[in-house]
Symmetry: C2
Subunit: 217 residues, 2 copies
């Protein structure tokens, strides 16, 4: 069964890029990040000039950014909630980004391919990057199940190296809710084999005012 069989419908659980806005610039920033890593310190590129050009872009964008307090309020309103996240966010250049889709059983699945900026051991994904993707996936699957929570404990088992430049399937599903305790599991697979398994204990946010997770189609 392919990773995208058995989807609930065409619903995408995290926002897709909107290239009309900041997303195209963020996509280009991701390309810059990867290019700098591919070039490295022995490249014949004139890096001083590259730095000047990037600083000029940063200065221009900074001049057109709202005050942080205003931006934070906007970030946490409506769809913004998932647009800035370091795993899924089309506004966040450190995010691959990973797009999760909702399945009929309310678990989630997403596929991404990671490049050099996510490298740990030679040719493989950094164990902490795998943890980042899984922590986020578990959190999104709690929203998908209608019972979001804050991470209290996260446990990761590394079964085999997670390869770079290879499609990775990230899955997560809420397993149980006992009072305010939520248990959620997830995996990262490559070439049909599980590379990393995660299990998380989350504390329900039901008692608190928590934003609802945006659904976009």
């Amino acid at each position: 069964m392919s990773a995208t069989d058995d989807l609930a419908d065409a619903t995408v659980f995290t926002p897709l890029p909107n290239n009309a806005g900041v997303d195209a610039a963020v996509k280009a920033a991701r390309r810059v990040i990867a290019a700098l890593l591919h070039a490295g310190n022995n490249s014949p590129a004139e890096m001083g000039g590259v730095a000047d050009r990037l600083n000029a872009v940063a200065e221009y964008v900074e001049e057109h950014a709202p005050p942080v307090a205003e931006r934070m309020a906007d970030m946490w309103a409506g769809e913004g909630f998932s647009r800035h996240n370091p795993v899924t966010g089309p506004e966040n250049a450190i995010a691959p980004p990973l797009h999760f889709q909702l399945r009929a059983d309310r678990s989630i699945v997403g596929v991404t391919t990671l490049g050099l900026q996510y490298q740990g051991p030679p040719g493989n994904v950094h164990g902490g990057i795998a943890a980042l993707l899984l922590d986020d996936a578990l959190g999104v699957s709690n929203f998908a199940a209608g019972e979001p929570g804050m991470t209290a404990h996260l446990s990761l088992d590394y079964r085999k190296p997670t390869p770079l430049f290879t499609p990775l399937t990230v899955r997560a599903a809420q397993q149980s809710v006992d009072g305010r305790k939520i248990r959620t599991v997830g995996t990262i697979s490559a070439n049909g084999e599980v590379c990393v398994e995660a299990e998380g204990l989350f504390i329900s946010m039901r008692e608190k005012n928590s934003p609802s997770w945006p659904m976009t189609s």
Copy 2:
């Protein structure tokens, strides 16, 4: 006691930026990443133009990058080993970067302040980013203790929210070596209180050809 008391000497365990090379460009790329997140989708900045300028930089750098196989070999030779890492690497724009220092007891410590690109809950660090920093810190501390390993299991306890825009102290120390099993612990603290605790089980790399961790001063 401040985070930087009790250091073994002036030894820095991860490379400091070398602004004469690619590092200045990567530093500027980090500034672009943060600026784009601060600006967001409602900024009056002409993001199409920003995208064009960033794509032009990426294209220039890509044209001056070696083939991937050649670059990979270079990345894993000498100091390169720690220069591209997503936590410590001055060549990696997704890295904060975090600089670890070696203490007299061969534990390690580093201080960093994280911005919007690392946000999870409002105003706080993403739990998966905390996991990323700690997995890396545990790995570096295994090198510091002379017994490096591959992560087999990682366990994280989230004690309290880890704040953005606040100096975070990341510590790690190898606890025991039993055959090829290595146990290592670490913490992230803010304002003198532990926010996240990590415990890792690593499998020794002694049997394999493993690169030595570079020491720079």
